[in-house]
């Protein structure tokens, strides 16, 4: 049913692009989905930086704006 479908899928924005993800996912789980190694990145959720040890326990919620950043070449 649609309600079930709705509850099972979250609409979020990751690095500026809308994505649909399954409900109940942690941020760490999201990173795994994205094939990103959590040890090499920093994650900001709704303008709050998440400590690395909070990634497993922080749920992804509807409407979250998530930024996954890392170091690149720069001067």
């Amino acid at each position: 049913m649609t309600t079930e479908g709705d509850s099972a899928t979250l609409s979020i924005v990751v690095n500026g692009k809308p994505r649909l993800v399954g409900a109940g996912l942690s941020v760490a789980g999201l990173l795994r989905t994205l094939k990103v190694n959590p040890g090499m990145v920093v994650v900001e959720r709704n303008r709050e930086i998440l400590a690395r040890d909070a990634l497993e326990t922080t749920p992804v919620k509807e409407g979250d704006r998530i930024e996954v950043v890392h170091f690149v070449g720069g001067g």
Binding site: V14, N15, G16, K17, L34, K35, V36, M40, V41, V42, E44, R47, I49, A51, R52, E67, V68, V69, H70, F71, V72, G73, G74, G75
Partner: protein
Amino acid sequence: MKGKRRPDGSFLIAGRTFDSRLIVGTGKYHSNREMTQAIRASGAEVVTVAVRRVDLDRSREEGILHYLDPREFFLLPNTAGCYTVADALRYARLGRAAGLSDWVKLEVIGDEHTLLPDTTATLEAAALLVAEGFKVMAYTNDDLVTALRLEDAGCVAVMPLASPIGSGLGVVNPYYIREIKRRLCVPVIVDAGVGTASDACITMEQGVDGVLMNTAIAAATDPVGMATAMKHAVRAGRAAYLAGRMRPREIAVPSSPVAGMLDGNTD
């Protein structure tokens, strides 16, 4: 006591000792391999990095940490690309959250054509970051008054430009650089504008503590060769500064003795 010069040639920033006075950026290289070779050739210990989004569309996105071991190099995150205090704070905090250190190279740009700093915003951001416990190395223009204020704000190093970022015009105003060095107690690292080895040498001859560059190496025809050149140029300039150059003069002075010439020289 200025306390930055030490007997063995090393120098201190925020209590940390560095042996190389050359700091290099990691941008604009053709490949990560070329980058690491060039950086090793440069002898730099501190290398700057930028904070950017992971590109999630690429199958095997690799950040710069795959190529630069933080145990080999001291990685200094920058806030390049930020035009406001808020953005600079955001990027600085993201850089620190990577867990390497609480140092940041602060840049708050005021104009996108020249990439000159917004000094008012830089001062404000510096004060806020210092209050949050950051070790702030602040990119700034060559204005003494701003440099003094950045020192007052608690920056651990002040980094005036030699000329605009990526321009390669060299030290356009050595008077200002020299005056900034004379008046500040914290280390002065000239950041941006060096184009070739002699620019780095001239920079160091002004007495500053170090020099930071990126494009001069990365955009050379042979970046690894230029990195070697820069390593020597920084040493040369530092050594010449310490050795005390001869006074230039418009009159010639012979190098060989005028006494002891033979008799009967042709008239």
